[in-house]
């Protein structure tokens, strides 16, 4: 067979190389694009919810998580006559479904763990202050003392899934942990649907699922309780809940004095124990939610003592009423701020 050898001229070789570059060059501009995110935003549990997820199945996963949160709101609402909590408060008894019973059990455990600083039976006091009707008023000392007789989670009876409120006038409000529980369930739903990277904000209760698509931790800013446009600091987290409680979230003024919604179960008054903001950082949204309220009620000294006794459970950022920012040592390396802050050990 005759073989024909081809020889290419120098110009032909240069032409070929330039042609290859001309084809490949535009691809250099196609930077490795960050994965597209999808988000849903909706109102439920009396607040705004925003969920952002990354990945191919993000859209389906987000709608499933949204449906789950709305389902939980219907179970746990204190104002919806169809909800189990509404019926329990109205009738003094209710047979609870799995989620509601689990939340009540968790609430009772938190009550024990926090020495009563977290207490879902503050319902009659919250009602008396007008925090449910938005018709704010100042209960008298006598009224508060009378209603205090109805407060105390140790009075509740939970046998199996049957809840009894033994005294007329008793009521429960799971608002202190409902969003935390819902955020955990939303994260589970997203993960079950194949999402590995997501950010959940339920009324400012944040749960970070995984890390960001680029592998970096999520950056969660903590609102400055004294300036709504500033931050106490930023904490970098992965697979973590970050929940903040502060009196600024819901309050009213009467005769020149401000009254907020985080009541001390022991006094029936808005807690004023030296803290104006408590942020809990831990793996569990429900724990973060409950402890953020409890530590706010406890005040600086008891809150830090509680943290030292339960180091393995959580970390915290506390803002005091004299403007100090206290950061527990477990989260200090992941915390940054333009303000001075103290690391607590």
């Amino acid at each position: 067979m005759r073989v024909t050898a081809y020889r290419f001229s120098m110009w032909t070789r240069i032409s070929a190389i330039l042609l290859i570059f001309a084809i490949l060059a535009p691809l250099c501009g196609c930077e490795a694009k960050s994965p597209k995110s999808q988000s849903v935003e909706f109102f439920t549990m009396d607040t705004v919810m925003e969920l952002t997820a990354y990945g191919k199945n993000a859209g389906t996963a987000l709608h499933a998580a949204q449906a789950e949160i709305i389902r939980l709101d219907r179970l746990l609402s204190i104002s919806d006559p169809e909800s189990e909590i509404y019926r329990a408060n109205r009738d003094g008894f209710a047979e609870l479904s799995g989620d509601t019973a689990a939340l009540v059990r968790e609430s009772l455990a938190l009550y024990e763990l926090t020495g009563g600083a977290f207490d879902i039976t503050v319902y009659p006091l919250m009602d008396a202050w007008g925090f449910y009707s938005d018709e704010y008023r100042l209960p008298s000392d006598e009224e508060r003392a009378r209603l205090a007789g109805l407060v105390g989670s140790d009075r509740l009876a939970l046998e199996g899934d049957a809840l009894t409120l033994p005294e007329p006038g008793m009521g429960i409000d799971l608002g202190g942990i409902a969003k935390g529980y819902a955020s955990d369930r939303a994260a589970e739903t997203l993960a079950d649907n194949g999402v590995a990277s997501a950010l959940i904000s339920l009324g400012g209760n944040i749960v970070a699922l995984g890390s960001k698509p680029d592998g970096m931790p999520w950056r969660v800013a903590i609102r400055d309780p004294l300036d709504e446009n500033a931050f106490s600091g930023i904490v970098r987290v992965t697979d973590t809940a970050v929940v903040t409680s502060g009196g600024y979230e819901r309050c009213f003024e009467l005769d020149g004095k401000s009254y907020h919604h985080i009541l001390d179960p022991a006094t029936g008054l808005p807690a004023r124990n030296g803290l104006i903001s408590v942020t809990i950082i831990c793996e569990s949204g429900i724990l973060a939610d409950g402890l953020s309220t409890a530590l706010y009620v406890m005040g600086e000294e008891k809150a830090l003592a509680f943290w030292r006794a339960h180091l393995e459970l959580f970390d915290a950022v506390l803002v005091t009423d004299d403007g100090r920012v206290l950061v527990t040592s477990g989260i200090a390396e992941a915390f940054s701020s333009e303000r001075d802050f103290e690391v607590v050990r």
Binding site: S9, W11, T12, I14, S15, L18, L19, F21, A22, A25, P26, L27, C28, G29, C30, E31, E41, F42, F43, D46, T47, V48, D134, K179, L199, S201, G203, G204, N205, I206, A208, K212, W218, R219, V220, A221, I222, R223, P225, E228, N229, F231, I234, V242, V243, T244, S245, G246, E249, R250, F252, S277, T279
Partner: protein, 125 residues
């Protein structure tokens, strides 16, 4: 066509490709676009850079949004807490939220403000 003409053509293609690549990688979305949402629906898109004169946007359920001097804020609301009004002008990645009226005002293209979410920012908890 002569070889040198082909080379010139390819060189020109290469130059155009590189220029296009640079443009694509450096272009930025407009960061003055703000979305006004109610009940989860975008009801108004505002370009703050184009608002020459102040004007108001009246929303259903008693909210009035003011656009003025490159800023947007909740001018008035019939909500009990007035937190959305007190917040003032929209800044950074912190949206203005009126929970009772289900209104959210946020930048449509959010520049990296150094954080991905804000804990404790939403009123009405």
């Amino acid at each position: 066509m002569k070889t040198r003409a082909w080379i010139a053509l390819f060189a020109a293609l290469l130059l155009v490709s590189c220029a296009a690549a640079w443009y694509v990688s450096h272009r930025r979305p407009a960061d003055s676009l703000v979305g006004v949402y109610q009940d989860g629906r975008l009801v108004r898109c505002v370009d703050l850079a184009l608002a020459a004169e102040p004007y108001d946007i009246a929303l259903a359920d008693g909210c009035v949004v003011r656009v003025e001097a490159g800023e947007i804020r909740m001018l008035s609301s019939d909500c009990p807490d007035q937190i959305c009004v007190a917040q003032g002008a929209l800044t950074g990645n912190l949206p203005i939220v009126c929970v009772p009226n289900r209104v959210v005002i946020r930048y449509l293209s959010e520049p990296d403000a150094g954080y991905d979410a804000v804990s404790g920012a939403v009123p009405g908890n």
